[in-house]
Subunit: 126 residues, 2 copies
Protein backbone atom coordinates (compact mmCIF):
# COMPACT_ATOMS: atom_id res chain seq x y z
CA UNK A 1 0.00 0.00 0.00
CA UNK A 2 2.67 2.47 0.99
CA UNK A 3 2.62 5.74 2.81
CA UNK A 4 0.16 8.37 1.71
CA UNK A 5 0.06 10.83 4.58
CA UNK A 6 2.99 12.16 6.56
CA UNK A 7 1.73 11.65 10.07
CA UNK A 8 3.29 12.20 13.47
CA UNK A 9 3.80 8.49 14.10
CA UNK A 10 5.67 8.13 10.84
CA UNK A 11 7.92 11.09 11.65
CA UNK A 12 8.68 9.63 15.06
CA UNK A 13 9.53 6.22 13.67
CA UNK A 14 11.69 7.68 10.95
CA UNK A 15 13.63 9.81 13.40
CA UNK A 16 14.40 6.71 15.47
CA UNK A 17 16.00 5.19 12.41
CA UNK A 18 17.87 8.40 11.62
CA UNK A 19 19.34 8.52 15.10
CA UNK A 20 20.66 4.99 14.92
CA UNK A 21 23.22 3.17 12.86
CA UNK A 22 22.29 -0.47 13.38
CA UNK A 23 19.01 -2.31 13.34
CA UNK A 24 16.26 -1.80 15.92
CA UNK A 25 13.83 -4.43 17.08
CA UNK A 26 10.11 -3.80 16.82
CA UNK A 27 9.85 -4.36 20.55
CA UNK A 28 12.51 -1.77 21.26
CA UNK A 29 10.71 0.75 19.06
CA UNK A 30 7.43 0.06 20.83
CA UNK A 31 9.17 0.58 24.16
CA UNK A 32 10.86 3.81 23.12
CA UNK A 33 7.72 5.34 21.68
CA UNK A 34 5.24 3.90 24.15
CA UNK A 35 4.32 7.32 25.50
CA UNK A 36 3.50 8.69 22.08
CA UNK A 37 2.52 5.87 19.76
CA UNK A 38 0.39 2.79 20.24
CA UNK A 39 2.08 -0.54 19.51
CA UNK A 40 -0.45 -1.43 16.84
CA UNK A 41 0.49 1.75 15.05
CA UNK A 42 4.19 0.98 15.36
CA UNK A 43 3.68 -2.38 13.69
CA UNK A 44 1.50 -0.85 11.00
CA UNK A 45 3.92 1.97 10.22
CA UNK A 46 6.84 -0.47 10.08
CA UNK A 47 4.88 -2.58 7.61
CA UNK A 48 4.35 0.40 5.40
CA UNK A 49 7.92 1.64 5.63
CA UNK A 50 9.07 -1.80 4.60
CA UNK A 51 6.57 -1.83 1.80
CA UNK A 52 7.97 1.45 0.54
CA UNK A 53 11.54 0.17 0.70
CA UNK A 54 12.51 2.62 3.44
CA UNK A 55 13.43 -0.14 5.86
CA UNK A 56 13.90 -3.88 5.66
CA UNK A 57 13.20 -6.50 8.29
CA UNK A 58 14.55 -9.83 9.45
CA UNK A 59 14.21 -12.17 12.40
CA UNK A 60 16.93 -12.88 14.92
CA UNK A 61 17.60 -16.28 16.40
CA UNK A 62 14.89 -15.99 19.00
CA UNK A 63 12.33 -15.08 16.37
CA UNK A 64 11.87 -11.42 17.13
CA UNK A 65 11.65 -8.89 14.35
CA UNK A 66 14.32 -6.30 13.60
CA UNK A 67 14.19 -3.36 11.26
CA UNK A 68 16.95 -1.37 9.64
CA UNK A 69 17.15 1.47 7.16
CA UNK A 70 17.63 0.37 3.59
CA UNK A 71 20.55 1.85 1.73
CA UNK A 72 19.53 0.90 -1.73
CA UNK A 73 16.06 -0.57 -1.58
CA UNK A 74 13.03 0.65 -3.46
CA UNK A 75 9.47 -0.53 -3.54
CA UNK A 76 10.29 -2.45 -6.70
CA UNK A 77 13.45 -4.13 -5.54
CA UNK A 78 14.60 -5.05 -2.08
CA UNK A 79 18.34 -5.47 -1.74
CA UNK A 80 17.98 -6.88 1.71
CA UNK A 81 19.99 -9.99 1.16
CA UNK A 82 23.08 -8.84 3.02
CA UNK A 83 23.92 -10.71 6.21
CA UNK A 84 22.95 -9.42 9.63
CA UNK A 85 25.25 -9.60 12.59
CA UNK A 86 24.00 -9.88 16.15
CA UNK A 87 26.38 -9.47 19.07
CA UNK A 88 25.83 -12.18 21.65
CA UNK A 89 27.25 -9.96 24.33
CA UNK A 90 25.66 -6.53 23.93
CA UNK A 91 22.75 -7.53 21.71
CA UNK A 92 23.46 -4.92 19.04
CA UNK A 93 22.44 -5.88 15.51
CA UNK A 94 24.00 -4.51 12.33
CA UNK A 95 23.72 -4.94 8.61
CA UNK A 96 26.95 -6.21 7.10
CA UNK A 97 27.75 -4.49 3.86
CA UNK A 98 29.23 -7.56 2.28
CA UNK A 99 28.12 -9.99 -0.36
CA UNK A 100 27.83 -13.66 0.47
CA UNK A 101 28.00 -15.87 -2.57
CA UNK A 102 25.60 -18.77 -2.27
CA UNK A 103 26.68 -21.81 -4.23
CA UNK A 104 24.30 -22.97 -6.92
CA UNK A 105 21.74 -25.38 -5.58
CA UNK A 106 20.82 -28.16 -7.96
CA UNK A 107 17.19 -28.27 -9.08
CA UNK A 108 16.01 -25.48 -6.87
CA UNK A 109 15.05 -21.92 -7.66
CA UNK A 110 16.29 -19.51 -5.04
CA UNK A 111 14.02 -16.55 -4.33
CA UNK A 112 15.15 -15.13 -1.03
CA UNK A 113 17.95 -15.82 1.37
CA UNK A 114 18.56 -14.72 4.87
CA UNK A 115 21.85 -14.93 6.71
CA UNK A 116 22.15 -14.30 10.40
CA UNK A 117 25.58 -14.34 11.97
CA UNK A 118 26.10 -14.24 15.70
CA UNK A 119 29.24 -13.59 17.67
CA UNK A 120 31.03 -10.71 19.27
CA UNK A 121 30.95 -7.24 17.82
CA UNK A 122 33.83 -4.81 17.48
CA UNK A 123 33.44 -3.26 20.91
CA UNK A 124 32.71 -6.52 22.66
CA UNK A 125 35.55 -8.61 21.26
CA UNK A 126 38.33 -6.40 22.59
Amino acid sequence: MGIIRKTQSIELLLSEFSNSTGAISAIELIKRLSAKVNKTTVYRVLDKLEDDGVVHSFLDKSGIKWYAKCNSCTHAQHFDSHPHFQCLNCGKVDCLEIEVALPNIPNRQVEVSQILIQGNCESCSK
Copy 2:
Protein backbone atom coordinates in the same frame (compact mmCIF):
# COMPACT_ATOMS: atom_id res chain seq x y z
CA MET B 1 20.76 -32.26 30.60
CA GLY B 2 20.08 -34.85 27.97
CA ILE B 3 17.95 -37.95 27.88
CA ILE B 4 18.18 -40.36 30.76
CA ARG B 5 15.13 -42.58 30.32
CA LYS B 6 13.81 -44.06 27.09
CA THR B 7 10.17 -43.13 27.36
CA GLN B 8 7.24 -43.60 25.03
CA SER B 9 7.16 -39.94 24.04
CA ILE B 10 10.78 -40.05 23.04
CA GLU B 11 10.25 -43.18 20.95
CA LEU B 12 7.30 -41.54 19.22
CA LEU B 13 9.21 -38.37 18.45
CA LEU B 14 12.21 -40.29 17.18
CA SER B 15 10.08 -42.40 14.88
CA GLU B 16 8.62 -39.25 13.35
CA PHE B 17 12.14 -38.17 12.45
CA SER B 18 13.02 -41.62 11.13
CA ASN B 19 10.01 -41.60 8.83
CA SER B 20 10.89 -38.28 7.30
CA THR B 21 13.69 -36.92 5.19
CA GLY B 22 13.37 -33.18 5.66
CA ALA B 23 12.81 -31.00 8.67
CA ILE B 24 9.59 -30.99 10.69
CA SER B 25 8.16 -28.02 12.52
CA ALA B 26 7.43 -28.24 16.23
CA ILE B 27 3.84 -27.35 15.45
CA GLU B 28 3.52 -30.16 12.94
CA LEU B 29 4.92 -32.62 15.47
CA ILE B 30 2.48 -31.44 18.11
CA LYS B 31 -0.36 -31.86 15.62
CA ARG B 32 0.72 -35.34 14.56
CA LEU B 33 1.17 -36.62 18.08
CA SER B 34 -1.66 -34.72 19.72
CA ALA B 35 -3.56 -37.90 20.58
CA LYS B 36 -0.60 -39.44 22.35
CA VAL B 37 1.70 -36.72 23.64
CA ASN B 38 1.05 -33.39 25.31
CA LYS B 39 2.49 -30.35 23.57
CA THR B 40 4.56 -29.40 26.60
CA THR B 41 6.18 -32.81 26.41
CA VAL B 42 6.85 -32.44 22.70
CA TYR B 43 8.69 -29.18 23.33
CA ARG B 44 10.60 -30.68 26.23
CA VAL B 45 11.64 -33.80 24.36
CA LEU B 46 12.74 -31.74 21.37
CA ASP B 47 14.88 -29.63 23.69
CA LYS B 48 16.56 -32.70 25.02
CA LEU B 49 17.07 -34.31 21.66
CA GLU B 50 18.71 -31.11 20.51
CA ASP B 51 20.80 -31.04 23.63
CA ASP B 52 22.00 -34.55 22.90
CA GLY B 53 22.86 -33.68 19.31
CA VAL B 54 20.20 -35.97 17.89
CA VAL B 55 18.40 -33.15 16.14
CA HIS B 56 19.13 -29.52 15.40
CA SER B 57 16.72 -26.63 15.18
CA PHE B 58 16.29 -23.40 13.30
CA LEU B 59 13.62 -20.79 12.66
CA ASP B 60 11.94 -20.18 9.36
CA LYS B 61 11.04 -16.76 8.03
CA SER B 62 7.85 -16.52 10.01
CA GLY B 63 9.64 -17.35 13.22
CA ILE B 64 8.40 -20.86 13.78
CA LYS B 65 10.76 -23.58 14.91
CA TRP B 66 11.85 -26.51 12.76
CA TYR B 67 13.76 -29.60 13.75
CA ALA B 68 15.78 -32.02 11.68
CA LYS B 69 17.89 -35.06 12.37
CA CYS B 70 21.56 -34.32 12.74
CA ASN B 71 23.87 -36.27 10.52
CA SER B 72 27.07 -35.53 12.30
CA CYS B 73 26.24 -33.66 15.47
CA THR B 74 27.19 -34.69 18.98
CA HIS B 75 26.51 -33.12 22.31
CA ALA B 76 29.97 -31.58 22.17
CA GLN B 77 29.83 -30.17 18.68
CA HIS B 78 26.88 -29.08 16.61
CA PHE B 79 27.51 -29.09 12.88
CA ASP B 80 24.27 -27.38 12.22
CA SER B 81 25.64 -24.54 10.16
CA HIS B 82 24.48 -25.88 6.83
CA PRO B 83 21.81 -23.84 5.05
CA HIS B 84 18.14 -24.72 5.20
CA PHE B 85 15.87 -24.54 2.23
CA GLN B 86 12.17 -23.81 2.51
CA CYS B 87 9.91 -24.24 -0.48
CA LEU B 88 7.60 -21.27 -0.85
CA ASN B 89 5.11 -23.40 -2.73
CA CYS B 90 4.72 -26.66 -0.81
CA GLY B 91 6.24 -25.53 2.48
CA LYS B 92 8.71 -28.41 2.70
CA VAL B 93 11.95 -27.66 4.50
CA ASP B 94 15.25 -29.46 3.93
CA CYS B 95 18.82 -29.32 5.11
CA LEU B 96 21.19 -28.56 2.29
CA GLU B 97 24.32 -30.64 2.47
CA ILE B 98 26.54 -27.90 1.21
CA GLU B 99 29.09 -25.60 2.73
CA VAL B 100 28.64 -21.86 2.48
CA ALA B 101 31.84 -19.97 2.90
CA LEU B 102 31.29 -16.81 4.87
CA PRO B 103 33.78 -14.06 4.07
CA ASN B 104 35.92 -12.88 6.94
CA ILE B 105 34.26 -10.11 8.84
CA PRO B 106 36.64 -7.44 10.09
CA ASN B 107 36.85 -7.01 13.87
CA ARG B 108 34.15 -9.48 14.70
CA GLN B 109 34.26 -12.96 16.12
CA VAL B 110 31.79 -15.26 14.48
CA GLU B 111 30.22 -17.86 16.72
CA VAL B 112 27.15 -19.14 14.90
CA SER B 113 25.61 -18.54 11.55
CA GLN B 114 22.24 -19.39 10.17
CA ILE B 115 21.31 -19.40 6.53
CA LEU B 116 17.75 -19.74 5.36
CA ILE B 117 17.08 -19.94 1.66
CA GLN B 118 13.61 -19.78 0.22
CA GLY B 119 12.41 -20.60 -3.24
CA ASN B 120 10.97 -23.51 -5.15
CA CYS B 121 11.99 -27.07 -4.39
CA GLU B 122 12.75 -29.81 -6.88
CA SER B 123 9.17 -31.02 -7.24
CA CYS B 124 7.66 -27.55 -7.26
CA SER B 125 9.94 -25.92 -9.81
CA LYS B 126 9.11 -28.29 -12.66
